[in-house]
């Protein structure tokens, strides 16, 4: 007989927690516990904040449906990517920077052009970015309850940051405010291009 779904999830999480090793990938130790360490990690990582801001401004500008779906997809993608990273999935070292450059370019460009992207497409692209960023954050393969709580903290900060920023553009209907948001999109796109230049320079 198959155990109930909740029991299976609890068992899986228990096994994962049992693999505990100290999670000290590159998270800030705030002294306030692993959830706050995760929150602080996101809050102190501009290379992760800026793409989230770009997605939030764009999704907010497109409307509530875009914003809702993208918020959930981004945080869920981050969680899944983080789980993958914690379970041993490792990405090349250049992935975080390349992902930031590509997604800043894409989301900033879409915002600058006020592109008519369907909500599901916006959500899928955000989820892909979230998965890559999550996998990079937790890519040292350290599992355990501490890593899980770190991940919860990061995802909570991502979701909260996204919703806060999206709520700034969601009610914008006046022309000049929409234009201001689109100008911000052009800046984010420019950041993506410049970041790509940095990456090529380092190579």
């Amino acid at each position: 007989m198959k155990p109930p779904r909740l029991t299976r999830v609890a068992a899986a999480l228990t096994i994962w927690a049992a693999m505990a090793r100290a999670a000290e990938a590159h998270l800030v130790a705030t002294g306030m516990g692993p959830i706050y360490d995760g929150v602080s990690h996101f809050a102190l990582s501009p290379e992760e904040i800026l793409p989230v801001v770009a997605f939030a401004l764009f999704a907010g500008l497109r409307g509530p449906d875009h914003a809702r779906r993208t918020a959930v997809a981004l945080a869920a993608g981050w969680f899944v990517g983080g789980l993958g990273g914690a379970l041993g999935l490792s990405l090349p070292a250049a992935v975080p920077q390349v992902a930031s450059a590509v997604f800043l370019f894409a989301a900033g460009g879409a915002l600058a052009a006020n592109a008519k992207v369907p909500p599901w497409a916006c959500a899928v692209v955000a989820a892909v970015y979230g998965a890559l960023a999550g996998a990079s954050d937790f890519g040292n393969g350290s599992g355990g309850l501490v890593a899980l709580l770190n991940l919860v903290g990061v995802c909570a900060a991502v979701a909260a940051g996204f919703v806060l920023v999206a709520s700034l553009t969601l009610p914008l209907r006046r022309d000049w405010l929409v234009m201001a948001a689109r100008v911000a999109g052009s800046w984010l796109l420019a950041l993506g291009v410049l970041l790509a230049g940095w990456i090529v320079r380092q190579v």
């Binding site: 590159h26 102190l44 501009p46 800026l50 100008v183 950041l191 230049g197």
Partner: protein, 198 residues
């Protein structure tokens, strides 16, 4: 202070008692990267004049140029920055930057009203050279993203200053003042062009 507020304050401050120093991840160069990036566009008067002139011209042309020109400039400037960062050759940079002051100042002075794509192309062309100069002159060891963030933000704010000043265009005296500002930019451009050529 009410009892509930005191309780909330006590519980709010309690975690501080357990705090340990947060020194695990000292981010070297973060502030240096942002500040030096922010300072770069505003440190040279030739850059400042051209970028403010973009905003002035946009405001003079009205919608949609008022936002389209300040959007075009940073995007094409970033392409120039990319070329500068990877070390691609783009000769005549200093002359083109000085010429941007001359051309944009003249456009504001003469209240030039070319078709929008032409105005955007002119602004974009000069943006390419400004971006190239920023990318090529960049000091080593800076934080890439924060340097770029400061650099783009300063550029955008200079355009914003230009647009804000250019809004005086709605009044008759403002139109004259705006043309005077164009003359000032043009004069600065001529000065820098002379310096670049000698």
């Amino acid at each position: 202070m009410t009892r509930s507020a005191r309780t909330a304050l006590l519980f709010g401050l309690a975690p501080l008692a357990f705090a340990t120093p947060a020194a695990a991840h000292i981010m070297k160069g973060e502030a240096i990267g942002f500040v030096s990036g922010f300072e770069h566009p505003i440190s040279g008067l030739d850059h400042v004049l051209a970028m403010v002139a973009v905003g002035l011209w946009g405001a003079q042309l009205g919608r949609p140029a008022i936002w389209l020109l300040p959007v075009t400039f940073p995007m094409v400037m970033a392409v120039g920055g990319f070329l500068g960062l990877i070390g691609a050759g783009l000769p005549g940079g200093e002359i083109a930057i000085a010429l941007s002051g001359v051309a944009l100042g003249a456009a504001v002075l003469l209240q030039a009203r070319p078709p929008l794509p032409v105005a955007a192309a002119v602004v974009g062309l000069f943006g390419l050279f400004h971006g190239y100069a920023h990318g090529a002159e960049l000091p080593p060891g800076q934080n890439a993203l924060l340097y770029s963030l400061g650099f783009v933000l300063a550029t955008g704010l200079l355009h914003g200053c230009g647009v804000a000043i250019g809004l005086v265009h709605r009044w008759p005296w403002g139109r004259i003042a705006l043309r005077g500002a164009g003359l000032a930019v043009l004069s600065g451009g001529v000065y820098f062009l002379r310096s670049a050529l000698t």
